[in-house]
């Protein structure tokens, strides 16, 4: 707007900046907008994926509300939020603070960055590969965990970690904490770098304990990072698919099913495409609502920084 008026007078045939949006807009239309609208449309039909869809109105959504399997998968989503957002954020905060103002200051920045790298490593792994690693470690016979328990004389704790309905969800949660921990840690450490060190030093001189400094100085300084990380991780947790596919296929008996895997099953295993679309549409609504909150928080955090 303002830069337009300042453009040189002699410009011939100037195309508007909006033209640069054209390729992106067309690509988005074809790959995101049209499929998304189609998915919503399909959710209002009964369709096996072949033949023509039959109009069903809100039938699928009504079925959804009464489907205990769906609600169970949704409860597992909340467990995933704990495993992928709440626990990694809490652990990441303590680890980041310990690495930043303990290890880095009193032992050396090299040690701190080596430790940080160890925690971050699982983050670069394809989730399918993480799944293979862990499904072998957690295997009932010959798996590394059970063998290790035997070796230290705790053989009575042996379990079929992924095959026992009472343990499968907790096992998957533990794997997800391992996968996810590095992300909050790295973000928080970067946030701490931006924080003002003098506040911390003042608190230290006043004799505040490490815990008090952590709670009253460190945490408030990186509050924007904390809320953003929590929301990003929550969204990632609601979308989790690959880990469930590779580790348990939603089993045993639906004990680890999540909405995204539930919709995948409806699409490609049960060929209830209309129903699968309803599940994924419901999931989308929840995620987009959270994403909007995340956006609001983020713009507010940016305004505060200015």
């Amino acid at each position: 707007m303002s830069s337009h008026s300042k453009a040189p007078l002699l410009r011939r045939r100037e195309y508007p900046y909006a033209l640069f949006l054209l390729p992106g807009a067309l690509a988005f239309l074809a790959v995101i907008v049209v499929p998304f609208l189609m998915n919503t449309g399909i959710s209002l039909t009964h369709w096996q994926g072949v033949g023509s869809p039959k109009w069903a109105g809100l039938d699928n959504y009504r079925t959804l509300l009464d489907d205990s399997a769906f609600w169970e998968s949704f409860r597992h989503s909340l467990a995933m939020v704990v495993a992928m957002a709440v626990l990694p954020t809490a652990l990441g905060l303590v680890l980041a603070a310990a690495l930043f103002d303990y290890v880095a200051k009193h032992i050396g920045t090299r040690t701190a960055s080596v430790l940080r790298a160890c925690f971050y490593l699982p983050q670069v792994l394809p989730i399918a590969v993480a799944g293979i690693v862990w499904s072998w470690i957690l295997a009932p016979e010959g798996g590394a965990l059970n063998e290790a328990l035997d070796a230290v004389g705790l053989g009575s704790l042996r379990h079929d970690w992924l095959g026992d309905p009472d343990f499968a969800l907790y096992s998957v949660m533990a794997v997800m904490v391992w996968v996810q921990l590095g992300f909050p840690l790295v973000v928080f450490m970067a946030g701490l770098q931006r924080a003002d060190p003098s506040l911390h030093e003042a608190a230290e001189l006043d004799g505040a304990s490490w815990w008090r400094r952590f709670w009253h100085v460190t945490l408030p300084q990186i509050r924007p990072e904390i809320s953003v990380v929590l929301l990003w991780c929550t969204i990632a947790a609601l979308k989790v698919f690959g880990a469930v596919y590779v580790l348990t296929k939603g089993g045993p008996g639906g004990a680890t099913n999540v909405p995204s895997y539930f919709s995948f099953q409806s699409f490609f295993e049960k060929t209830q495409v209309g129903y699968g679309s309803a599940v994924s549409t419901a999931l989308t609504v929840i995620i987009l609502a959270l994403a909007l909150v995340a956006l609001r928080l983020q713009t507010r955090a940016e305004d505060q920084q200015r």
């Binding site: 830069s3 453009a7 995101i32 499929p35 925690f119 790295v186 679309s277």
Partner: protein, 279 residues
């Protein structure tokens, strides 16, 4: 609590020890997998997963490599991820140029649209994408996956680059314009060279994210010749056709590329994560 702190000296060792133990626990799965990938099946069944290997047997690795034609999967993954990285960065630059520097009308809405597109669960796209790609003859081609991920990744790129370009010094652009450069020339000769660091971060991220993607490639790439590393490993694991040594060989081969990216791009990755999270 007050007695504990005094000065930092007394608690120093326990804290470092606890952190080191935690760090070892994090990398332990990688070590155990590497150890068992080089055992022979006989050795594995005799000594179990916790013993140190007696020698280095590469049979498991070689068998797995040939069985899934792993070289081909690596090539597919590299081709798809590399193309997506370049194309998505290109699309991001074009979008961000219009939004960040051109300040097109309705800018916040355009930006919000891109962010939401990035947040969308792929489950809400997968069936129509599967169906449409069959209609136009792109099903089970690497091109279909390249197109889809170029668009998905560029949503994040547009978001990040727009805010970077929004802070681009106006005088530089105006100077170039007075020298007679049109918008297209300003983009390529001024904006792109100056934004090279951010573009580098984006390229690395797009490459690794696409490499790690699972759901869409799983649905779209069904033939052996087109599969990526992730899909090939995930599908095999799902079928549970492998013995323990081969599983470990598979896991090790899956881990190695990620490990290399990590060593090469560690700085970029950590810088980029912080940038992406807070920008």
């Amino acid at each position: 609590m007050n007695a504990l702190k005094r000065h930092h000296a007394p608690a120093r060792f326990p804290v470092l020890a606890a952190l080191s133990v935690a760090a070892v626990l994090m990398v332990l799965p990688f070590l155990v997998v590497a150890l068992n990938a080089v055992k022979s099946p006989a050795e594995y069944s005799a000594n179990g997963p916790l013993s140190l290997p007696e020698g280095i047997h590469l049979d498991g690795l070689r068998d797995f490599w040939q069985r899934v034609d792993f070289g081909r999967k690596l090539f597919n993954s590299a081709l798809i991820s590399g193309s997506v990285a370049v194309l998505a960065a290109l699309l991001s630059v074009l979008n961000a140029y219009a939004i960040g520097i051109g300040r097109v009308k309705g800018r916040p809405w355009v930006l919000a649209f891109f962010v939401l597109a990035n947040m969308l669960p792929q489950e809400a796209l997968v069936y129509p994408v599967y169906y449409l790609s069959k209609q136009v003859g792109l099903y089970d081609t690497r091109l279909s996956v390249i197109i889809v991920f170029t668009v998905i990744q560029s949503a994040f790129g547009t978001y990040l680059l727009s805010s970077v370009l929004g802070a681009f010094p106006k005088e530089v652009i105006e100077a170039a314009r007075i020298d007679g450069a049109n918008k297209w020339q300003v983009l390529w000769r001024v904006v792109v060279p100056v934004s090279r660091p951010t573009l580098g971060v984006l390229l690395v991220f797009f490459f690794i994210w696409t490499w790690n993607e699972f759901l869409l490639p799983l649905v779209m790439l069904i033939s052996n010749d087109n599969q990526t590393v992730s899909v090939a490993l995930g599908v095999l694991q799902g079928q549970r056709l492998m013995d323990a040594t081969m599983t470990n060989a598979a896991a090790l081969l899956g881990v190695l590329p990620a490990f290399c990216f990590f060593l090469i791009f560690q700085r970029t990755l950590t810088r980029g994560i912080a940038m992406g999270a807070v920008k």
